[in-house]
Amino acid sequence: MSEPVLEVRKLRVDYGLGDEAVHAVRDVDLTLHRGEVLGLAGESGSGKSTLAYGLTRLLPPPGVVSGGQVVYHPLDGLPVDVLTLTPAKLRQFRWAETSIVFQGAMNSLNPVHRVSTQLLDVIKAHEPRSTAAGRLARARELLRLVGISADRLDSYPHQLSGGMRQRVMIAMALALEPQVVIMDEPTTALDVVMQRQILGQLAELRQRLGFAVLFITHDLSLLVEFSDRIAIMYGGRIVEEAPAVELYRRALHPYTDGLLHSFPALRGPRRELTGIPGSPPDLRAMPSGCAFHPRCPKAFGPCDKELPPLGPPGDDRPGRAVACWLHPAAEPVPR
């Protein structure tokens, strides 16, 4: 496996302060390697978007990062902790090193400015010494990269279809050749045909430009196909992490297994599916022990008392980690 580019260590994110605080992300450890697609899946309220905003320091109040580190390894130079960057450094870091494509990307373009204005603005702000002609050439190249003809530069966002707007957003995210692109449900609002086209393009661009992607979605079947590794979040914690293929073939955590069996298959035999009984936990009143135990079909003795640590499962498969008492860690991660 290649070297890490972004390491999240024991990140905690709360909404609110003091005793009233809701812990949305709890002690999350996550490593993104250079050039890989790491999928982050979970239901609404599992903390996946909060995690993304927390590690880019984009979290609006009352969200507070209350602990942990986010270590970024630039191509050249020493690793830096994103959470301690000064505002000026943070400005340089954002977009140039890590860019983000938001959930409502369709609406994140400014409706009163042309696409060209918005694209050129990014380049101008981060590369003030570039020439106007150079910037324009770069903007044209970017649009071509995502499969939009350069004469669309002068369009307003409302003149583009949803898929094209999404592609413009991806072009903008890639404008400064970042090492890490965070995508928060980038295709949820799009139709399947468009979704596949954009993901295909993204896979191609990644091969060419070599950036790493943190891909956040609730659609696990999409992730299995598209990402290299998958981390599953539940109740603010990562409950399982594994290479995509292995996760699909043999999910260890009952929640992952339940999620995988929540998608009706388009091919193969038609089976009766049940989904997962119950509903996602309330972050204000989390169950004791493993947060999943009230819904878990395999819950037993220790589940409602002690929190299972995230660690490699006992029978030692490389690259896997699971937080479940059914698969007690061979060497629990010290906490």
């Binding site: 139709d191 399947v192 596949r196 191609e204 196909e225 009706p264 997962i276």
Partner: protein, 376 residues
């Protein structure tokens, strides 16, 4: 809860039928258009015909903008249709409110997509459900009757014990529970038909199946006819007996769900199925994009393409496709399977077939007659 496919159901009674249903929404005209052109309109739904049968689920699958929700609203009589007919038990109905509308709604109930928006946040579940029961005359005479009916409704949608939910406000329930309340409210009218417009797309993935299984269970117990509108063709395969695919306001393919999803005939259905995420083909996402010539964009519905509306994107388009509208053509592999595509008209294919091109993929051609001619 069992899968219903095993029972080779006899042809059930048709409850609600759409016949050539058409809806055009007028477009605001500019001054210069007034003199020059005929009034412009969005051709949201054109010539849609199908039947909802007792005890069966019919899925209407399509992308956003394909007109599937408009069909639901036409069937619910919330929109006035431009042309065509809605027949309830064979009787043509056109109601716009008042007593007639109520008696229609009593039999045909609509369930909406977003349970966060379709329940009034300032009222309790008890209020929502008793209103439905009262309006449709199912509340009984005494307070005990009403209480019994309320408990019965909640039990039916598996919200038990009922007392825990009756006096709750919508915000106290999760998305899945809210959608169950919305279903219970629809059942309060004791309807024959449920029109479910994307009933699970706003819910978390882990609870979607629970709601779908509930709907199927209700269908079997109450012998309901259900129209299931969705963009997710895999869930149509899972849940529906019959599947109809819509594209740009027209029906392009129909048949029983298993045939339509396993042996899709229309090029658009094939594109849709190829594009659906498939964990079993872990080859990278770039594979299936080659077939779509139209950049994934459905056409403008104000000036829809002549002929087949899919022809600008179709990899098998022939010259005739851009001129003549393809009729429903039977496909021999399974009774009731049809596609609106010239590829299945042997005469057209023979006439167009200049250079022999191998037949389209997916081996959907049961009769083996169709070969495709490339238009360019």
């Amino acid at each position: 809860m069992t899968l219903s496919e095993s029972t080779a159901a006899p042809v059930n009674e048709v409850v609600l039928e759409a016949v050539g249903l058409t809806k055009h929404f007028p477009v605001r005209r500019r001054l210069r258009d007034l003199v020059s052109r005929a009034p412009a309109a969005v051709h949201a739904v054109d010539d849609v015909s199908f039947a909802l049968r007792r005890g069966q689920v019919t899925a209407l699958v399509g992308e956003s903008g394909s007109g599937k929700s408009t069909v639901a609203r036409l069937l619910a009589q919330l929109y006035r249709r431009t042309a065509g007919d809605v027949r309830l038990h064979g009787v043509s109905t056109r109601v716009h409110g008042g007593r007639a509308f109520r008696s229609y709604v009593r039999r045909v109930q609509l369930i909406l997509q977003d349970p966060f928006a379709s329940l009034n946040p300032v009222h309790t579940i008890r209020y929502h459900l008793s209103r439905s029961l009262r309006i449709h005359g199912n509340a009984g005479r005494t307070a005990e009757d009403l209480d019994r009916a309320l408990a019965d409704l909640l039990t039916r949608v598996s919200l038990t014990p009922p007392e825990r939910y009756l006096d709750a406000f919508p915000h106290e329930l999760s998305g899945g529970q809210r959608q169950r309340v919305a279903i219970a409210r629809a059942l309060g009218a004791a309807p024959e038909v449920l029109l479910a417009d994307e009933p699970v797309s706003m819910l978390d993935v882990s609870i979607r199946l629970g709601v779908l299984n509930l709907l199927r269970d209700l269908k079997e117990r109450l012998d309901l006819a259900i129209l299931y509108i969705t963009h997710d063709i895999a869930s149509a395969r899972y849940f529906a007996d019959e599947t109809i695919v819509m594209y740009a306001g027209r029906m392009v393919e129909g048949g029983d769900s298993e045939t339509v999803t396993q042996r899709p005939a229309h090029p658009y259905t094939r594109l849709l199925i190829e594009s659906a995420p498939d964990p079993d083909s872990i080859t990278g996402a770039a594979a299936a994009t080659a077939h779509d010539r139209g950049d994934g964009e459905p056409p403008s519905l104000i000036r829809p393409p002549a002929g087949c509306r899919f022809h600008p994107r179709c990899p098998h388009a022939m010259p005739r496709c851009s001129v003549d509208l393809p009729p429903r053509l039977e496909i021999a592999d399974r009774p009731g399977h049809w596609a609106a595509c010239w590829l299945y008209d042997p005469a057209t294919v023979a006439a167009e077939d200049a250079g022999a091109v191998p037949p389209p993929p997916a081996s959907a051609l049961g009769d083996g007659t169709a070969t495709s001619g490339e238009s360019r």
